[in-house]
């Protein structure tokens, strides 16, 4: 894996170059001091040192609302599939979000390949960026094994102070670097500096989980009847915010919209959430998960067990977005730790 050095003063030119041929997305500072991924209008808006974003980069592959079909009604009805994808680079993605993207890639590719997701994903390049310090007190990436990542990116930047060490992950990443960035090969000194930075990062992050993340599926497996679900459901408002901000939540609803002329319309999908009351409700009125505790448990089981069994990666990457957005402070670290103690594993 080749390593290049990109001086920080050259990042702007690199991004400008990329902007000439594809959409460049990066974290930007919003009003109120939060950060969000957005299409860059100006390279100067790009933040590479940021504490997490409100939403993960998932929205570029599975948009909050996405057209699946366009149809014409009337005498001779027609329907056309819509698969929208454009070349884009997401510049500055944290390791946890790269892990989550890997999981989504598998979920949408496995068995029935979802072209709407995969076309967007396949046309996107990902430039990762390292996290020198924890985003805040809620991130627990180190506990989940997602503080670092060794694949799933085209380039990966590590902040060396005056410059970034750029690790090339794919030929496409290398091509974009060669074409648009002024870099130099890494020297022995750069490598030593990179090792120092990587070593210095580790102790700045704490282990918040009182178990290895690999033990979470076992803890979940022993916790189905835990009293904790009912206790948490007393607080949980069932609002689904945790679903919406989660980098690995990918459940969706499908619905139609008709134009005012009643002649044409679209079929869309939109993010849905398993915490919402009607998620498992069928037309007869039967609700297969009518109890809030059961819905909350289902979400935690997906994150801590089901997705791992299906796709080989835990559904929680420790980004902390759910607890940051939770109105009643339901914290996955606290939930996993309490379950561990309750089930005596």
């Amino acid at each position: 894996m080749s390593l290049k050095i990109l001086d920080k003063k050259d990042v702007g030119a690199f991004v400008s170059g990329l902007m000439t041929e594809l959409e460049v997305v990066g974290a930007q500072r919003k009003d109120g001091g939060k950060y969000a991924f957005g299409v860059l209008a100006d390279p100067a808006d790009l933040q590479l040192s940021y504490p997490t974003t409100i939403l993960p980069p998932k929205k570029y592959f599975l948009p909050a609302e996405e057209t699946l079909l366009r149809f014409q009604l009337g005498e001779n009805p027609t329907v056309q599939p819509v698969i929208e994808a454009k070349p884009r680079v997401i510049f500055g993605v944290h390791a946890c979000d790269i892990h989550a993207t890997w999981l989504l890639d598998v979920a949408f590719a496995k068995d029935n390949a979802d072209a709407n997701y995969l076309e967007k994903r396949n046309r996107a390049l990902i430039v990762g960026v390292d996290c020198p310090t924890p985003c805040d007190e809620h991130s627990f990436c180190k506990s989940m094994g997602t503080l670092t990542v060794d694949s799933g990116y085209d380039l990966f930047l590590t902040d060396l102070g005056e410059a970034y060490a750029v690790e090339v992950g794919t030929p496409a990443g290398e091509a974009m670097l060669n074409k648009h960035a002024h870099t130099r090969p890494a020297t022995e000194r750069d490598l030593a500096r990179l090792n120092t930075v990587n070593a210095a990062r580790w102790p700045k992050f704490t282990f918040a989980l009182e178990m290895s993340h690999q033990d979470i599926p076992n803890v979940m497996g022993a916790s189905y009847k835990s009293p904790l679900w009912e206790e948490l459901a007393e607080r949980c408002l069932g609002c689904g915010r945790c679903n919406l901000v989660c980098p690995t939540c990918y459940c969706f609803n499908v619905f139609d919209e008709v134009q005012f002329n009643l002649q044409e319309g679209t079929r869309l999908r939109e993010w849905d959430g398993c915490l919402l009351t009607d998620f498992a409700k069928v037309a007869s009125g039967e609700n297969f998960r009518k109890n809030r505790a059961a819905r909350l448990r289902h979400r935690f089981y997906r994150k801590g067990k089901y997705l791992e069994e299906m796709y080989g990666h835990l559904g929680c990457v420790g980004c902390g977005r759910c607890v940051r957005s939770c109105l009643v402070d339901i914290d996955p670290v606290d939930v996993f730790n309490r379950l561990k103690h309750l089930c005596n594993l």
Partner: protein
């Protein structure tokens, strides 16, 4: 870059025939416009689209047919099904599928088959019953138990009359509540079980009905009749929004019903807390 194929693109199907079956259910015979056969196995389902209204998962009610037509029986319940009821022959609907795993007909050959249908459960079960009856000599005894809330909800009356007449079908019908003209059995479907005897190890039981029915029928079939759990097949209803294992709505515990089901053996699901209440 090549464009992938959308999972959401339906095929057009024309309504060839439609008629009311009860106050709430309508029968539809559909023909795929591209001339292809649906290619389903008994117990699978399709997603039916009415553009501008939406899409709904519907069980296929017919046995696989040579001409490729297929039949649905639909209760007017939500937006899509109510709109479907207003359509006439010649109207076009979108069809995706068939989806899911149906009944393993080959594994039932040589066995006695005990069908138990509650209410609308007869709709998917009919696809299997008619498949079995079309190859009647391949199976042992055929027993059909069917229960409805009241006589006005009985589906496929003409076919039931034929099943009743056949010497090689043991057919039992009951209604929860009779009416002025009803002379048959009255009582919930479990009341029919004392009327039948089975040889449990050479019998497969196939059960389809409303969620509430399963646990009571399972007591009869497992505890009272002693049919092995891996010889009991059930079809489970869930909210299959996408039909392709992505949208998450049909999941029960770790199982996506649209992919692994809707047909399961009791053996496969008895440990899943979310399968049967």
């Amino acid at each position: 870059m090549t464009q992938g194929i959308s999972l959401f693109q339906p095929r057009w199907a024309e309504i060839v025939r439609t008629e009311p079956m009860t106050e709430k259910e309508r029968f539809f015979q559909l023909h795929l416009k591209d001339g292809s056969s649906l290619g389903h196995t008994p117990g699978q389902f399709v997603e039916v689209s009415l553009f501008g209204i939406g899409e709904a998962p519907i069980s296929i009610s017919s046995a696989p047919a040579r001409n490729g037509d297929f039949e649905l029986c639909v209760r007017a319940m939500g937006d899509v099904t109510n709109a479907l009821h207003r359509l006439s022959p010649g109207a076009l609907v979108g069809i995706r599928g068939p989806f899911g795993h149906g009944f393993p007909v080959d594994q039932m050959r040589g066995k006695d088959v005990l069908f138990t249908a509650g209410g609308l459960g007869l709709v998917p079960l009919r696809s299997l019953i008619n498949t079995v009856l079309a190859q009647r000599q391949d199976f042992g005894r055929v027993l059909i138990l069917y229960g409805c809330k009241n006589p006005s909800e009985i589906l496929f009356r003409d076919e039931l009359a034929q099943w009743e007449k056949r010497d090689d079908v043991e057919f039992h019908l009951t209604v929860d509540r009779g009416d002025a003209t009803w002379t048959g059995n009255v009582g919930v479907i479990t009341r029919l079980f004392p009327q039948i005897t089975v040889e449990p190890h050479k019998t497969v039981a196939v059960i389809v009905g409303p969620p509430i029915m399963y646990k009571f029928v399972l007591i009869e079939v497992v505890a009272n009749k002693g049919i092995p759990e891996d010889q009991i097949y059930l079809s489970l209803e869930r909210r299959m929004k996408c039909g392709v294992g992505k949208c998450g709505h049909c999941q029960m515990n770790h199982v996506y019903v649209c992919q692994s089901g809707p047909v399961f053996t009791y053996d496969q699901i008895k440990h899943l807390a979310e399968a049967i209440e």
